[in-house]
């Protein structure tokens, strides 16, 4: 079915695995610079108000305190934390380093810089702040009320959009179903909290070490805020303990850079867990109402949706996030008419922003819970209803007009049905006892980079060393899922050497070429395609160099197994290291290339997932007992890592469905302040997740590969919710399905209690 390759499709650990298992790897939080100061943020304790007075006298009198910064002595120029390119559209400049008008509990009011973390923390407690409180608008409805005060100039309706495609067909005799699904605000929960280190230099420039997903974008924000030319600001990506979108936007980097610039000293800003939860950003909370019309036998005729996204105190990327919620359904289902209204609304709650899936998990929850309701209304099996309407390979996305490429979602569903033994499991009765079992299915669609919405390109250089090894110079941002290894495998495959003979470093604005970073499901598809092309260029040069040396026409040569071989002459070959060292001596160009790759397509990536759950009707607790994820990956570059990333994505999705939420109380304070009250699924509660890969290599990614990291979590939560609804006969659609919500959905039903 797919071409057999030497290294692509194998399984390799992350490139720095040896340093990770020995504890040797220096993460951002481990990083230090001689003479380094430590900063501590002071966060707003109220949800909405004006800072009337800041008194830092007692704090600054504490030995070891260098200075306290706030709106009184820091630049008040607004910046956009989500902007990735100078002059970019959809960037909202509504945030300053420190707020004078605080907009949520957790908003940055001030920062203490001191010689130690302990002193900075002690001093932070001594800073006196007086606020004039304003009415707190803690829900979207509060914020949109006529009498509501403006959280930002211009009002609380931050962004509104509507899209309509196709013609509404005749709906005579159609069955119409309406549902409303809400998804919670959640914490990304990367195990390493946010951290940044910045050093101001006496030359006027600065170096920033950050655990960011995009250093070039961090530089545009930092340099412009501090009025420095870009070449004076060097931003280096350092090893990070996870991101999941939470380190895509530039939140603490500008603050830390300012503190270092102002003090002309190295400054480290390391957040604690609570600060990472409430003062960076969250996956935004959403509510989506969907009304569809189907023929009685299950053909989708019309899809109309209205979504509201709770942006929180600042815009961050939420307007774009909201727009992207409209680009998911038509990647998955064929429909003659699609209409979607969306709005992003400021509230006095923690900021929403980039999160794994960028609107897709939210929209998949709404769509796939809805599809199950339709299946029930039409008395169809949920699988059959989906099969009747799913896109076919090479369909066009109705909303974006882009070809969907070799879209294999149908095959995912068909193969999953067999592998999961869907029919038999679905036919099994849920039971009427205390423990009830159910199964659910959900599908999801996502993208491959930013082509179609933004100029999408990657740039890199590759050179051969004198011993025949290779070095890739690219702005890679490893977030933990093995992209450095992915690039090494791609280059190795093209050049016919083991991936261990290819080095690839991470991003550093001073030494690696411009690239956006690790987000938008762009790395494998776009950056990986660039790696393949630059390796092909180097292979051409390698063959030409070998042709010169062994006096053979280049057409007779082939590069594999670390040597250039003369075709049809067994045993006649010149090793790469001999080509390299001999060519170095000649007055000819070196064996190196650099290239820019512009993306040419943006196909759909798909996943269909199956969950089996057991619900305890006495306690309302749900356990996922079995799980299958089927993945349309085009082609797995690193098979073991694709499976492992899927397993982790399912864990995140189960948390989204059942446990995780970051709500605020009536005063706007987050109900959680750490992992003690924010539950991430742990080892005993995780099922053994089976992953089934569907591979066709039909698109433009390297060797046919498509994106994995985001799509993997897209359909997980609705698969779990649909399984719970199947077990209980309920219509739950407010995530997460906490025990309280499950018990209340049972309407006080008498539950046989076997153990009491």
């Amino acid at each position: 079915m797919i071409e057999d390759l030497q290294y692509v499709g194998g399984s390799y650990p992350v490139h720095d695995v040896a340093q990770k298992v020995t504890g040797e790897l220096v993460y951002g939080s481990d990083f230090s610079v001689p003479g380094m100061l430590h900063a501590k943020l002071i966060l707003s304790s109220i949800s909405h108000g004006i800072v009337k007075r800041i008194d830092a006298t007692r704090a600054e009198a504490l030995p070891g305190v260098v200075k306290v910064f706030s709106h009184e002595n820091a630049p008040m120029e607004p910046f956009s934390r989500a902007r990735i390119h100078p002059g970019q559209d959809m960037s909202f400049y509504d945030e300053t380093l420190f707020s004078a008008h605080v907009r949520f509990v957790g908003d940055r009011v001030a920062a203490v810089v001191a010689t130690s973390k302990a002193i900075a923390e002690a001093a932070a407690a001594l800073v006196e702040i007086e606020y004039e409180e304003l009415p707190a608008l803690l829900t979207v409805d509060d914020a949109l009320a006529d009498s509501a005060p403006a959280i930002h100039e211009g009002g609380n309706l931050l962004y509104e959009h509507e899209i309509e495609r196709g013609e509404r067909p005749d709906l005579e005799g159609a069955v119409s179903v309406t549902t409303t699904t809400s998804t919670p605000r959640v914490h990304h929960a990367a195990l390493e909290p946010h951290v940044c280190i910045a050093q101001g230099h006496s030359t006027g420039g600065m170096t920033v070490w950050t655990t960011s997903q995009g250093v070039y974008a961090a530089r545009t924000v930092i340099a412009e805020l501090l009025h420095l030319e870009y070449h004076r600001v060097r931003v280096i990506k350092v090893p990070m303990g996870g991101s999941f979108g939470g380190k895509t936007e530039y939140i603490i980097e500008p603050v830390c850079a300012f503190l270092a610039h102002a003090t002309r000293r190295p400054v480290k800003l390391l957040l604690d867990r609570e600060e990472s939860m409430i003062a960076t950003m969250c996956r935004p909370a959403t509510t989506t109402t969907i009304r569809t019309a189907f023929t009685p036998d299950g053909e989708l005729l019309d899809f109309e949706a209205a979504s509201t996204l709770d942006s929180g105190g600042f815009a961050a990327s939420t307007p774009d996030y909201s727009v992207h919620m409209c680009k998911k359904v038509t990647k998955l289902y064929r429909v003659p008419h699609y209409q979607h209204q969306g709005r992003a609304v400021y509230t006095n709650t923690p900021v929403g922003g980039a999160a794994r899936g960028w609107g897709a998990p939210e929209m998949a929850a709404a769509t796939e819970i809805h599809m199950d309701r339709v299946a029930a209304a039409l008395r169809l099996d949920p699988v059959d209803l989906r099969l009747k309407n799913m896109v076919e390979p090479h369909d066009t996305d109705l909303v974006t007009g882009l070809p969907l490429g070799d879209a294999r979602v149908r095959e995912c569903l068909e193969r999953g049905v067999v592998a999961f033994d869907w029919a038999a499991r679905r036919a099994r009765p849920a039971g009427r006892g205390r423990y009830r079992r159910g199964v659910g299915v959900a599908a999801g669609a996502h993208k491959n980079g930013m082509f179609g919405a933004f100029p999408e390109a990657s740039r890199m250089g590759l050179k051969m060393n004198e011993d025949g090894t290779f070095e890739l110079n690219a702005s890679l941002h490893e977030v933990g899922c093995g992209i450095v290894t992915t690039m090494r495998i791609i280059v190795a495959e093209v050049l016919g050497v083991h991936p261990d003979l290819v080095a690839a470093g991470e991003a550093d604005t001073a030494t690696t070429p411009f690239d956006y970073g690790t987000y938008g499901s762009r790395v494998t598809y776009v950056v990986g395609a660039c790696a393949r092309i630059v390796a092909e260029r180097v292979r051409e040069k390698l063959l030409l160099a070998a042709a010169d040396l062994i006096q053979e026409p280049v057409e007779r040569l082939a590069a594999y197994d670390a040597a250039v071989h003369v075709k049809d002459e067994r045993g006649r070959a010149i090793a790469y290291r001999d080509i390299a060292r001999l060519t170095e001596m000649r007055a000819v160009p070196g064996i190196a290339a650099s290239t820019t790759y512009y993306a040419v397509s943006n196909p759909g990536s798909y996943s269909v997932q199956f969950a089996e759950v057991e619900v305890d009707c006495a306690t309302g607790l749900t356990v996922v007992t079995d799980f299958l994820a089927v993945a349309d990956v085009g082609r797995a570059i690193n098979r073991g890592m694709v499976e492992a990333q899927y397993q982790g994505a399912v864990q995140m999705g189960i948390g989204y469905a059942l446990y995780e939420h970051l709500d605020v109380d009536e005063r706007g304070r987050a109900g959680v302040d750490g992992f003690k009250n924010y539950h991430i699924v742990n080892a005993p509660d995780m099922p053994d997740v089976q992953v089934l890969l569907v591979e066709h290599e039909g698109d433009d990614g390297p060797f046919g590969a498509k994106s994995v990291g985001e799509i993997a979590t897209v359909p997980t939560a609705p698969a779990v919710v649909n399984a719970v609804n199947n077990a209980l006969g309920t219509e739950l659609s407010e995530l997460p399905l906490t025990p309280e919500r499950i018990l209340s959905a049972l309407h006080g039903e008498e539950v046989p209690c076997s153990s009491c």
Binding site: Y12, T22, A189, P193, Q551, I574, Q651, A683, P684, D688
Partner: protein, 214 residues
């Protein structure tokens, strides 16, 4: 106050505040940053170390409580550059992604295996219940611990080969190499060294190449 701590078999004399956490002393004073901080409240397990055979969260243990005890951190697992079996299995089974939870996972698993060399899968999952991971979904981690306790499955990952071995595998056939060296010599007037040179060192005074400046 003065503290004497034995960390990975080495004795350290440390001056620390009575309220100092073991985690901070290990990271900031002993200089072992392999032990991570993820939550500071004993929930995530990233800071797990082994104290007298027991896995503990070093963020909620005072350094003074570890006085006179044997402390084992992730840095103490490998011996003379040789990975511990558990570390090897984490590599082989793809149990590491971002790796921030890995030191704590390893130490909880190590403590389990020290007390129970052949745990069941349920034993393993319970032993790791206090170690959160956001990347892996635990499957590969559990498989690695199982493998380290004798339940080998098919390792998920290809082990990194030794680069030296890889390079040594490939050689140029002598005739081809000699011809290539001749091409270079004809072009540059210099006999390439290494396997090209017929008798080891060439003549350093041979006027075969132009002097500098051209």
């Amino acid at each position: 106050m003065q503290l004497v701590l034995t960390v990975n078999g080495m004795v350290h004399e440390i001056e620390a505040r009575p309220t100092a956490r073991l985690l901070d002393v290990l990271r900031d004073q002993v200089g072992l940053t392999g032990t991570k901080e993820g939550c500071a409240e004993g929930e995530c397990g990233a800071c797990t170390v082994i104290v007298d055979g027991q896995a503990v969260n070093s963020c909620v243990m005072l350094a003074v409580q570890a006085r006179g005890k044997e402390i084992l951190t992730v840095e103490g697992l490998a011996q003379d550059g040789e990975l511990d079996l558990l570390q090897q299995k984490f590599v082989e089974y793809g149990a590491v992604q971002c790796g921030y939870c890995t030191p704590g996972m390893l130490m909880s698993a190590k403590a389990l295996l020290m007390g129970n060399p052949v745990p069941s899968e349920q034993d393993i999952r319970i032993a790791l219940a206090g170690n959160l991971c956001r990347c892996t979904g635990y499957s590969a981690i559990v498989a690695a611990v199982k493998a380290a306790s004798g339940h080998e499955a098919t390792p998920a990952m290809e082990l990194p080969a030794e680069p030296a071995e890889l390079a040594a595998e490939v050689t140029t056939d002598p005739d081809t190499l000699a011809a290539a060296c001749e091409v270079v010599e004809a072009e540059t007037g210099v006999t390439p060294g290494g396997p090209c040179a017929p008798s080891g060192l060439g003549d350093p005074f041979a006027a075969s190449s132009p002097e500098g400046g051209e």
